[in-house]
Symmetry: C2
Subunit: 147 residues, 2 copies
Amino acid sequence: MTAPSDSVVRAWTRLERAHRAALATVEGRLKEAGLPPLAWYDVLLELERAGAPGLRPFELQKAMLLAQYNLSRLIDRLEAQGHVARAASEDDGRGQVLAITAKGRAMRRKIWPVYAAAIEAAVGAHLSPTEARALGDLLERLYPPRS
Amino acid sequence: MTAPSDSVVRAWTRLERAHRAALATVEGRLKEAGLPPLAWYDVLLELERAGAPGLRPFELQKAMLLAQYNLSRLIDRLEAQGHVARAASEDDGRGQVLAITAKGRAMRRKIWPVYAAAIEAAVGAHLSPTEARALGDLLERLYPPRS
DNA sequence: TCCACTTATATGCAATTGCATCTAGTGTGC
DNA sequence: GCACACTAGATGCAATTGCATATAAGTGGA
């Protein structure tokens, strides 16, 4: 267990700070617009991308890095609003399969313009295209997809 | 209101993901070690850095990007444990001045090794020194100190 | 001085999160 | 076919967060 160098500590500190600031902007804009929180969008997007086969909750959990009980309740709320549908899994008696509904799709579409503008304000406005790409690449190192 | 480019959206998405992963590591390590959550450390560090004059809650709030009511209660908890002391402000009848106690200092020192190891695991282990520096610089652009 | 406005902090209450644990299936070795 | 360890998901309860608003004090004029 090596001690982190100053530059690593600094990177971590900035990561926290930048994330907090950007998230506050994004969540704030969504709320102002009377829209649901960001997590709803993420679920809807994942489900929309998954297409017809849908997704198992545990897959969504990995994709979103959410705690299991948190996701379970997030789905409760989305289901209560009619944005997603739960169905028993054919293959696995313990599990379910989630699918986005038409209403869910509509909600995702409605959120996007506000969300997009917020991303631009919180991130895009501060970086050149080259910097944005570089930042994305570096951050990806911290959590490589398919790690 | 321009739409964000793909690279900007990607940077934002990775920011969320990287932050969530790193934070989970850090908070997890603290909990395993029976230590309080990260926010406690941040407050204690800021107060220790502030030295004798202490800090007003609103200053801490800006430094930590915390919501006002959240900080108010965080201080409640820290005070209840004897880690910080509240005193009425001399200059401003509405306000208070916060100071870290000896117990608070001890707690901060106790947290640091665990926290440091977690930062190294969550961030340092994935980046070269050059990359860490580059990441810190880019993130700083998103929330420039003294903006 | 008085008033309207702003700033600093606290707080009641509802929603969300975290923790620990529960239930119900699955799979494996025998 | 059984015992056992493991995975998927839900849930009761406590802690935290978010929201709206309250209280109290500072500030800048008319």
